[in-house]
Symmetry: C2
Subunit: 433 residues, 2 copies
Amino acid sequence: MGINLTNFLVSKSQNRKMGQFQDLDHLDGLSVSSVSANLYDSKRDDLAMFYFRDGANFASIYTQSKILSENIKWNLSQKTQKIYSLLVNTRNANSFTGEQGYRSMQSIAELVSKQLTEKQKEDEDDPKIIKPKNIIFGCTGTIGEKFPEEKIKSKIQDLIKNIKYTQNKYIWMKVALAIMTTDTKPKIAMEECKIGNTSVKIYGIAKGSGMIQPNMATTLGYIFTDADISNDVLKKLLKKNIENTFNAITCDGDTSTNDMISIFSTGKAKNSLIKTINDKKIKLFEESLNKVLLNLAKRVVADGEGASKFITINILNSKSEQDAKKIGFSIANSPLVKTAIAGEDPNWGRVIMAIGKSNVDINLNKLSIKFGDLIIVNKGRIYNQYNETDAANYMKGPAIDISVDIGNGKKNFTVYTMDFTKEYININTDYRS
Amino acid sequence: MGINLTNFLVSKSQNRKMGQFQDLDHLDGLSVSSVSANLYDSKRDDLAMFYFRDGANFASIYTQSKILSENIKWNLSQKTQKIYSLLVNTRNANSFTGEQGYRSMQSIAELVSKQLTEKQKEDEDDPKIIKPKNIIFGCTGTIGEKFPEEKIKSKIQDLIKNIKYTQNKYIWMKVALAIMTTDTKPKIAMEECKIGNTSVKIYGIAKGSGMIQPNMATTLGYIFTDADISNDVLKKLLKKNIENTFNAITCDGDTSTNDMISIFSTGKAKNSLIKTINDKKIKLFEESLNKVLLNLAKRVVADGEGASKFITINILNSKSEQDAKKIGFSIANSPLVKTAIAGEDPNWGRVIMAIGKSNVDINLNKLSIKFGDLIIVNKGRIYNQYNETDAANYMKGPAIDISVDIGNGKKNFTVYTMDFTKEYININTDYRS
């Protein structure tokens, strides 16, 4: 399953390269490479390397879970200003693997840094010495299984051998496929914009909420730019722009031990370094970054397990953004709302129920609800021209927009989710083996 | 579907009357009656009257939803010490019905109180004048549809005509069936105990979380006793004992606008009136009340839509009861945990995920997890004798016990839920009409 997004999800500018996917090409200072380390006992690529030949500034945001995977513990404990490589494996989450899992990170980082240092000596005029702390990891897959350290180490040389200094859309597609677990489609997005007079690129890939085998709903999102931006500004930009993108999506309300969104900046576009978030030159960049993040986040939702409908929930005119968020997620996470939408039933009573249970004080007499452009509830009453046949027809489309106007303030928040189908249960009741 | 509870849910004492249901008989001071008001366009009973000929002390606890149905608004605004009748209808929740819905309550209460006053004059030596404020309502069913005031009013006379002053198990079964929506089984429970030297009865009926048509997950639970207990003590007892019974169950995490649990005390057992919760004579009564509430709550879960497994989640040795509750509900409401159990997969990784996302600080090195008697995780590590075949066999049973020992305190909490099956989705994706 999975929803075809071409017609309603990607904005015209985002879709300018035509076709279902935007074509990513060369981003100066970054090379990508992927191989099969046979982690799935199949020939699919399952190990990806992102290599920054001159290092990259970076920032990461990790899962809110109180239980962290070992790779995230590794990433958090490396104190460095530059990353030279991000290594991503699938099939094994390196979660609940204890000391062995952490030592594997150490050992692989040592090997990668050593071999990349060799590569620097061969390729660069001004070779750098790369250290283990310059390497970070993304892991996704089964938790509680021994981390396949040896299998991965045996493929590092191949990964590095595959590195090309100019990327094209085929290399990007290959790497986007390599980081998938049960995703049915790769997730790729891009924008271009200016910082001052300098053109810069923002590329992103992600994987979504495949959850069998017994994966968690791990979300991995990696953003790359050739702009020159300090670590501190990258962190602030990411934190701020994740709020209405990756933090505004929900598939089933579950959270993984491995979620990770990172941004890397190679600086090769040679704009003058952005050192403060207050620099006005960053405005267009921030808008474009938000578009890339939102595009990827929507693709994650649209490819949610068993999804047949893409659902946008707009909460309008709320007293605070926090209240709007609470109401939005209460609707988006309600199994009763999600199953009604799967059944193409304009069951607005369940939306009312979900608003009621969100624990936000509301004035019913000010509440209005629309499905698409159809007014259902108008200031606390069923709209006098409400016609269930129209509403039922509306529910047949692949994109359902629900607007809830709270009418007691000026804050809005939008949540994105998908429906709850038989296919979701089929996928998730499957025994792992 | 629905799970047969006889073998594992009902304790021996609760089951002493044999068979799947306990037999309720006469409870002095209470008459029950039910009819069909044709609310479903079928001949099923859908309207039930509970009549207290000499009035009853009472207490109620209502939904936590911020949106209240009109009957609950009615109940909350009646200031009275005695209830003479509880009237329960199905098919229409009287929620989001506005003034018409509230005025219907007023109008029906006027009719019921008038006709019951007539009955008092006919039957009683010391007839009482019953007022509208002495009548309360339970409603469950569709929200947003016009409340069927006339249909209900036309059947009040029949309801009253049906009243018998001695009840038996058939009358109770009939009324337990009348309050069902999509429940597949009636829910009945009873206990007997002593207050001082006086034997007293505690009877209860409930309806559960049927959610189609488009009903909400409305839970109605009504407890009746012939003990003599003040309104204030009833309220305190109910509030306290709902915590680890009806507030410890979850089907899909959704909350209705109509939930209502009430207790009525006729005083006919003639114990000396209990005026304070500190009265030691109430101890056995409270234990029995808790058993009745827990028995009914478990039946609601076991009959949750599409349920094939009854799941008990014990959180042990937590720092606070609140933490234990958060972790318990995080596991119980996780679609990934619930689907794994439906698939008979001992997927403890998803339990870890749900613990992690509960937002409670835990020390992984102290965490232990058991499925039934099988140790899975022992102090933060996979147990060295863990054998997945045994665990997979365990998952085949109809009752799954998951114990999570947090190891950082002394507080426990138990949550009850059911699994998430294809049948749940089938039921809830069905279009209403």
